[in-house]
């Protein structure tokens, strides 16, 4: 269905008004590049609890994802790299046993969301085979190489930061801030994209659209 544009003072809050307790939330970004900070802040204000957050990292410093964790809203984190120099919020909650953690190799994290978006039921992946992160998974040798069976990761909501959207919901990104955004936009029931700018339909080059409008439910511009 067509995308809806949210603008004005309460745009971020309006776009996230219906996030349910227990939701799985895909959060874009790699470090701060592509991190949808304003959407995360709105999610904190919105108050949904018992969330599963899927993101590459588990928060830095005391803002953004770290603030969401500190507010006690998150039950489980699925990520590739939780431990960072400034991940003290995550580290503390995890050591206190107040957060579940699933560590997934970064490429497998991206591919599992891609599978969800692409209607792939499961896939055999060589990454992690024979390691701690492959333990407990179905394994199979294919062409002489060990693989583990990996399953899709679907979100109820995806929070994505992009660069420019048109009024239909076609989206382009900027440099390495693209990272997980286009994949997460395919993998969630409701996809919310915050952008720097919305342009009229026809202003984006159809050859250069990265996330076609079919994937985008809500565009937020402040």
């Amino acid at each position: 269905m067509s995308a809806t544009t949210y603008a004005g003072a309460t745009a971020y809050d309006d776009a996230l008004a219906d996030v349910a307790d227990g939701a799985t939330v895909l959060v874009g970004g790699f470090g701060m590049a592509g991190m949808p900070v304003e959407l995360i802040d709105a999610l904190i204000r919105q108050g949904a609890r018992d969330l599963t957050v899927v993101s590459n990292n588990a928060g830095n410093g005391d803002t953004g994802l770290a603030a969401l964790l500190a507010a006690g809203r998150v039950r489980k984190v699925v990520c590739s790299f939780p431990r960072q120099k400034d991940s003290w919020v995550f580290d503390g909650l995890y050591r206190e046993g107040r957060l579940e953690l699933e560590v997934v190799p970064q490429g497998t994290l991206a591919e599992r969301m891609r599978a969800a978006g692409a209607g792939i039921g499961a896939f055999f992946c060589p990454t992690g085979a024979g390691t701690l992160l492959g333990e407990g998974k179905e394994t199979r040798e294919i062409d002489g190489r060990l693989h583990v069976l990996e399953h899709p990761i679907r979100g109820d909501v995806a929070l994505v930061k992009a660069h420019v959207a048109d009024e239909l919901g076609n989206v382009v990104y900027r440099k390495t801030a693209r990272n997980f955004g286009p994949v997460m936009a395919t993998a969630a029931e409701t996809v919310v994209v915050q952008v720097d700018r919305v342009v009229p339909v026809g202003d984006l080059d159809p050859e250069a659209v990265v996330t076609p409008s079919i994937y985008v439910d809500r565009v937020v511009v402040a």
Partner: protein
Amino acid sequence: MSRSKDEIAAAIAADIPAGSYVNLGIGQPTLVADHLTPGSGVVLHTENGMLNMGPAAHGDDVDPDLTNAGKIPVTELPGAAYFHHADSFAMMRGGHLDVCVLGAFQVSAGGDLANWHTGEADAIPAVGGAMDLAIGARRVFVMMTLLARDGTPKLVPQCSYPLTGLACVDRVYTDLATFEVGPAAHADGGVRVLATYGTGVADLRELLDVPLVDATSPAGG
């Protein structure tokens, strides 16, 4: 009177919600495009890699690099996007299309679709994107005549032709009636008749070998 192809296409177009993302299969389903109003905001997908496909191209607008899935030259509407084949079919298989409209040899009461192979022993098999479309879209509408040329019904208890997909069809639009099929409809005890054209539900019961539930509205028929 029974419905013409154009009337069937118009009925399908009327049932597609505004703002839907839609794939129209090769052949008769492409007629549906003529009945979508510009204001509806319906976006057409073509599986060879494009959203916001426009009408067929003519004269100077013909561009060999811009065709639909039937390899017919088409045009581009504002807001178009191009993508490669793996991304295009990921979009379909992943359930992102709201509706697709397909032709059929047979549809079963349970929503099984047969539209790719006549089953003749010497036929050269050719499936194209039919199976991907059948199982991918959120709602699959079939557009067909209710009876084959030899008078046998094409809405059947079980398909005798090789299947395209299992339990994938939601609605069947024919010259004589519109039906709801598939697991949801079947749980009621049979196929639901939503509307009839120039024939009554009683007549349809004579024609068809599947149990029919009369769900026509008083204004219908």
